[in-house]
Symmetry: C2
Subunit: 114 residues, 2 copies
DNA sequence: TTTCTTCATCTGCATATTCGGATAAATACA
DNA sequence: TGTATTTATCCGAATATGCAGATGAAGAAA
């Protein structure tokens, strides 16, 4: 099912989510929604797609659901993802996403004042 | 346009062509058609897709048109492709494709009797 | 020229993908 | 209980993608 893997990567919204998750480790839907600056249902829909493709895992914590890159990703897919993230992280719109996330106020897991 | 790259990889016929080209270096359409055992217009259509995505280059030699992985592929895309080919080459249907190609009679570039 | 081979493209159709907007479900909190 | 927040899903429509089969275009060889 390698086509399923690449199909999951063949969309800008999903790639932006993956690049952010690779950088940050774990993010909730509202953080991703703020960082990408797109409607929330769109983020949820694409995260569901990534989850069904086995690329991300989710974890509920109170009212938030945190997503992360799937720890059991096949090694070659992990290497492909790492190469991709390294190549894209400094490009647009991925770097802007990271900047918006860093500037986001009231992030759920963050300390209030540091 | 990384989505364009991954979209090009998100189809079995195209992946099979790419794996064969990576193994063999250069192949004409009739060799690919024989190796994949699918209708020729299907191969041509997907090769055109790969060409428009910048993944392969073509070269006319008489009545044959030879395709190869594009020599100017961005380095990170080359690494992704190499990881992918290494992971898939021994899997089905990619290994069967290589076997059918090896057993093909009357290949255009081959010597007649060795 | 005619014929053959190779390859590309067109036509018609079915399916898949994506979207925005509305709504539902689950949790936290008053 | 009721309300606010977070997340998921549904709906309808537009667009994209894939296929098979037929046809077209280009070169080779008679």
């Amino acid at each position: 099912m390698p086509e399923r893997f690449f199909r999951a990567l063949a969309d800008t919204t999903r790639l932006r989510c993956l690049v952010l998750l690779a950088r940050e480790g774990e993010l909730c839907v509202c953080e991703l929604t703020h960082a990408l600056a797109v409607p929330q249902p769109r983020v949820s829909r694409h995260l569901a797609h990534l989850r069904e493709a086995g690329l991300v895992a989710d974890r509920r914590a109170g009212q938030w659901i945190y997503y992360r890159l799937h720890p059991d990703l096949p090694p070659w897919q992990g290497r492909v993802l790492a190469e991709t993230v390294a190549a894209l992280a400094d490009e647009s719109p991925f770097c802007e996403d990271a900047a918006r996330l860093a500037a986001m106020a009231g992030r759920p897991g963050a300390a209030c004042c540091d």
